[in-house]
C-alpha cells in the first residue's frame, strides 16, 4: 500500500474541505435575487382609512362572486377565501393599547422564492421570470392543495364548495397588467395607501418615508424587504407587524433553505440511480447463490421451489 494512514487522513481533510466549501458558500448567500422587472405593491397602514374600495374593486376586476355570507346583503368577507383575493382587516389593541388600531391589507405576497411554486408538483403555480408575479394555471392543477400547506402566509385558498374547484389567490390582476394598467386595488385606492410600481422603486420610496418621519414606523423597517427571502408586496405600519397577522419570518426562511440537502440528493436523480445500480449488482450475485441453494433444497425435498 503506497498511501500511509497519515496521507489518507490528509486526503480526507482536503477532500472534506473541498466538499464543504461550496456548501458554506451557498449557506452564507441567503439573499434571493429579484426578477429583473419585479413589480410590487407598497401598502402603508398609516395612510389606509379602511374604506375597502380595494376589496370591491378586486372582486370586480377578477370577476369574483361577492361574498355576502355575513348578512346576505353586503360584500363582507371575514377572511381571504375562494371569493376573496384581497381583504382589509382591522387590528384593535386591548388593555394598555386600547386606543391603538391599524388596518392591514392581506393578499398574496408574491415572494421572491415562493414556497407554493416550489411545492406545486406540476408547475400550476408559476413565478413569472420577468415581473415575478406568481400566477395559477387551471389545467396544470390537480388539486393536491400542497400550496396551502407550504405557504407561510396562508394565502392560497381552495374553492371547497365547487365541483371544479380552483385555487384562488391574488395574481396581480394579470389581464390588467397585460393591458398596461395597474392592479385594480392600487388604481382605486383614494388615499394612495397602496401603490403600484417596480419593486426597487417602491423599496426606495418606503425607506424615504421612514427617514422623513422617524419614529412613525414600526422598528424603522419595511416588512417584505427581507422576510422569507423578500417579497414583492411591501408593508409599512406604525404597529408591530405581528399584530397585523404578518408572521415574523427570518430572511433565510424560503424553500431554498429547507430543501437544499434534499435537492442536492435528488439532483438529476443521481443518488437514487447510484443506489439502484449498487443494489442490482449485489443482488445479482446473491440471487445466483440463492438459486443454487433453492435447487439443492428441491433435490432434497422434491417440492417446487418458491420464489
Amino acid at each position: 500500500m503506497l498511501l500511509s494512514r497519515r496521507d489518507l487522513l490528509k486526503l480526507g481533510v482536503v477532500g472534506g474541505a473541498a466538499c464543504a466549501l461550496p456548501v458554506s458558500a451557498t449557506a452564507s448567500e441567503h439573499a434571493v435575487v429579484p426578477p429583473p422587472n419585479a413589480v410590487g405593491m407598497l401598502y402603508d397602514s398609516t395612510r389606509c382609512i379602511g374604506c375597502k374600495s380595494c376589496v370591491v374593486a378586486c372582486a370586480q376586476a377578477n370577476e369574483l362572486v361577492p361574498d355576502t355570507t355575513l348578512d346576505n346583503i353586503h360584500q363582507a368577507p371575514n377572511d381571504l377565501n375562494a371569493h376573496t383575493k384581497n381583504i382589509i382587516k382591522l387590528y384593535k389593541g386591548t388593555g394598555a393599547e386600547a386606543n391603538e388600531y391599524a388596518f392591514v391589507k392581506r393578499q398574496c405576497m408574491h415572494c421572491l422564492d415562493p414556497f407554493c411554486v416550489a411545492a406545486c408538483p406540476f408547475n400550476a403555480l408559476e413565478k413569472n421570470k420577468q415581473t415575478g408575479v406568481v400566477s395559477w394555471t387551471s389545467e396544470k392543477c390537480i388539486g393536491c392543495r400542497y400550496c396551502q400547506i407550504a405557504c407561510p402566509y396562508e394565502i392560497p385558498k381552495f374553492e371547497w364548495d365547487a365541483f371544479n374547484a380552483r385555487v384562488v389567490k391574488c395574481e396581480f390582476c394579470g389581464p390588467r397588467l397585460a393591458k398596461n394598467q395597474e392592479p385594480a386595488c392600487t388604481y382605486v385606492c383614494p388615499t394612495h395607501a397602496v401603490i403600484f410600481g417596480r419593486r426597487d422603486v417602491l423599496l426606495n420610496e418606503a425607506h424615504k418615508r421612514i427617514t422623513n418621519s422617524p419614529g412613525k414606523y414600526w422598528e424603522k423597517r419595511v416588512y417584505g424587504e427581507k422576510e422569507a427571502g423578500g417579497t414583492q408586496v411591501l408593508y409599512l405600519s406604525h404597529v408591530a407587524y405581528a399584530k397585523l397577522g404578518l408572521p415574523s419570518l427570518p430572511p433565510d426562511e424560503h424553500p431554498g433553505r429547507w430543501m437544499r440537502w434534499s435537492e442536492m440528493a435528488q439532483k438529476w436523480f443521481l443518488l437514487p440511480i447510484a443506489v439502484y445500480l449498487g443494489i442490482v449488482a449485489k443482488l445479482k450475485e446473491n440471487f445466483r447463490e440463492h438459486e443454487v441453494e433453492m435447487n439443492e433444497e428441491h433435490k432434497k425435498t422434491g417440492l417446487i421451489p418458491q420464489i
Binding site: G143, N295, I307
Partner: protein
C-alpha cells in the same frame, strides 16, 4: 391454557420453510361480511365525494387543507406497508437467509397498504381530471416532494410490488388451473431473469418516496413545530417507515398464527426483532442528537417548548417507541407471545404517532381553525382499511403466503386432494412428476 403451552413447547423445533395457504378455514365468516359491508359503504361514499365535491364530503377548510385521507391513510399508514424493503434488504443484501420465509407476507401487506393509500390519494385529489399531467414532462416540477410522492408511489405499488406478489398467484394457478399451466411455466423464466432488477427497484422506490413524504412537511418550514421539523425529516421518516413496517410484519404474522393455531418460528421472529430494535436504536439516537444540537446550537430550544402540549406529545411518542424496544432486548420478553405482540403493537402506535403528529398536531399549532374529520371522511378512510384487511384475509387463506413447516404443506396437499378430487395436483408435494424448468 393447554394449547398455549403446547405451542410454546413446540417452538423450539418449528421451522418456517414454505408458504402454505391457511386451509380448512372458511373465507366468508361473519367478520368478513362485516368488513365487506364497511368496504362497500366506503366505496359508495367515494362516489358521493366525487359528485358532491370535497367541501361537502369532508371537514376540510383553508386552515386545514389536508385531512385524514392524506395525513393518515397516505402519510401515516403507508409506513405499515414498508416492512418489505428493510426485510428484503436484510435478506437479499445482508445474507439473512431465514428472513426469506416472511417475504411473501410482508410483500402482500405492502402491496395492499400501498394500493389503499393510492386509492386515498385518488379520492383526496381535488381536480382528478388533471392527473394526466403526470405524463406531460414539461410540466414536471421535480423539486417538489409531492411530485416524487405522486410518481414513486404508484410506480412502486403497480410495478415492483405487483410483480413481487405474482409468484404465489402463479403457483396456485399452476396447481389448481391446469389449462394455464403452460403459461405459468412460460412466464417463470422471465420472472427469474428480471428479478434482481425489479427487486432493486422495490428497494430504491420506497426509500425515495418515504423520504419524500417527510419532505412534504419539510416544505412547510417553521409552520411545523421545531421538535419535529428538521432538515433530517426525510431521512427520519424513511427510517421510521422501515421499523414500523417490520413491527407490523411481526404483529401481523403473530396475529395470523395465533388465530389459526399455526406454529410460530421463534428463530425468525427473533431475527426480525433484532432487525427492528437495531433500526429503532439508531433512529432514536439520530433523532435525539438532532434535537439536542438544534436546541443548543441553533437557538431553537424555546420554539421546541411552545405550546406546552407538544413536548408532552413528543415524550409520549418517544416512550411508546423506545420503552418496548428496550424491553425487547430481553430474550424472555421476545419468547412470550403476549409480550412480543404487545411490544410490536405499542411500537407501531408510537411510530404512527411520529408520522402523524407533524402533519396535524404540530402543524400550525397557533391556528384558530380546527379540523374534525367529517363522518363521511372517516367512513371512506375506514372503508379503505377494511378493504385492505379483507383482501389480506382472502389472500392468506387461498394463496401460499403465510410461512409454515413442510409438514403443513403435505397436510394441505391431503386436504386439497380430498376437496378437489377432479383437479390434477401433480407437483403439489409429489416427488416424481415434477422436474424444474430452469437449469440446475
Amino acid at each position: 391454557m393447554s394449547i398455549a403451552t403446547q405451542t410454546q413447547s413446540d417452538l423450539t423445533v418449528v421451522r418456517w420453510q414454505r408458504g402454505v395457504p391457511v386451509f380448512g378455514v372458511p373465507v366468508r365468516t361473519r367478520n368478513f361480511y362485516f368488513l365487506l359491508a364497511l368496504t362497500v359503504l366506503g366505496f359508495v361514499l367515494v362516489i358521493y365525494r366525487q359528485v358532491a365535491g370535497l367541501g361537502a364530503a369532508t371537514g376540510l377548510s383553508d386552515g386545514f387543507p389536508w385531512g385524514i385521507w392524506k395525513t393518515f391513510n397516505v402519510m401515516t399508514l403507508t409506513a405499515l406497508g414498508s416492512g418489505s424493503f428493510p426485510i428484503g434488504i436484510a435478506a437479499w443484501l445482508f445474507h439473512k437467509r431465514r428472513l426469506h420465509a416472511v417475504m411473501r407476507t410482508t410483500l402482500l401487506i405492502s402491496f395492499l397498504v400501498y394500493f389503499t393509500g393510492l386509492l386515498a390519494i385518488a379520492v383526496d385529489v381535488g381536480r382528478p381530471w388533471n392527473v394526466y399531467n403526470f405524463f406531460s414532462v414539461f410540466r414536471w416540477n421535480t423539486i417538489s416532494p409531492m411530485w416524487e410522492v405522486l410518481w414513486c408511489m404508484p410506480l412502486y405499488c403497480l410495478f415492483p410490488l405487483f410483480l413481487e406478489n405474482t409468484p404465489p398467484v402463479l403457483e396456485q394457478a399452476y396447481y389448481f388451473f391446469p389449462p394455464i399451466r403452460g403459461l405459468v411455466v412460460w412466464i417463470v423464466p422471465f420472472i427469474r431473469m428480471t428479478y434482481p432488477y425489479v427487486v432493486a427497484l422495490a428497494y430504491t422506490l420506497p426509500m425515495m418516496h418515504q423520504s419524500a413524504l417527510g419532505g412534504l412537511m419539510l416544505m412547510a418550514g417553521t409552520q411545523v413545530q421545531a421538535l419535529w421539523q428538521t432538515p433530517l425529516l426525510p431521512l427520519l421518516y424513511m427510517w421510521a417507515a422501515a421499523w414500523i413496517g417490520v413491527a407490523t410484519t411481526i404483529g401481523a404474522m403473530m396475529l395470523c398464527c395465533l388465530t389459526w393455531k399455526l406454529p410460530l418460528d421463534q428463530s425468525i421472529l427473533d431475527e426480525l426483532v433484532e432487525l427492528m430494535v437495531g433500526l429503532i436504536k439508531w433512529w432514536a439516537i439520530v433523532r435525539l442528537a438532532d434535537i439536542i444540537i438544534r436546541a443548543l446550537f441553533f437557538g431553537q430550544f424555546k420554539a421546541m417548548l411552545t405550546p406546552w402540549y407538544l413536548p408532552l406529545l413528543f415524550i409520549a411518542e418517544m416512550c411508546l417507541i423506545v420503552i418496548p424496544a428496550l424491553r425487547l432486548k430481553n430474550k424472555q420478553v421476545c419468547e412470550s407471545h403476549y409480550q412480543l405482540f404487545l411490544s410490536c403493537f405499542v411500537i407501531v402506535l408510537g411510530g404512527l404517532g411520529y408520522r402523524f403528529d407533524p402533519t396535524t398536531f404540530a402543524y400550525r399549532h397557533w391556528s384558530r381553525t380546527y379540523y374534525t374529520p367529517a363522518v363521511i371522511e372517516i367512513l371512506i378512510s375506514l372503508g379503505f382499511i377494511c378493504f385492505c384487511i379483507i383482501c389480506f384475509l382472502w389472500a392468506v387463506k387461498r394463496l401460499p403466503i403465510l410461512p409454515a413447516p413442510v409438514e403443513q404443506w403435505y397436510e394441505s396437499e391431503n386436504y386439497y386432494r380430498k376437496i378437489y378430487p377432479y383437479i390434477q395436483l401433480s407437483g403439489y408435494g409429489d416427488t416424481n412428476q415434477y422436474r424444474p424448468h430452469y437449469a440446475d
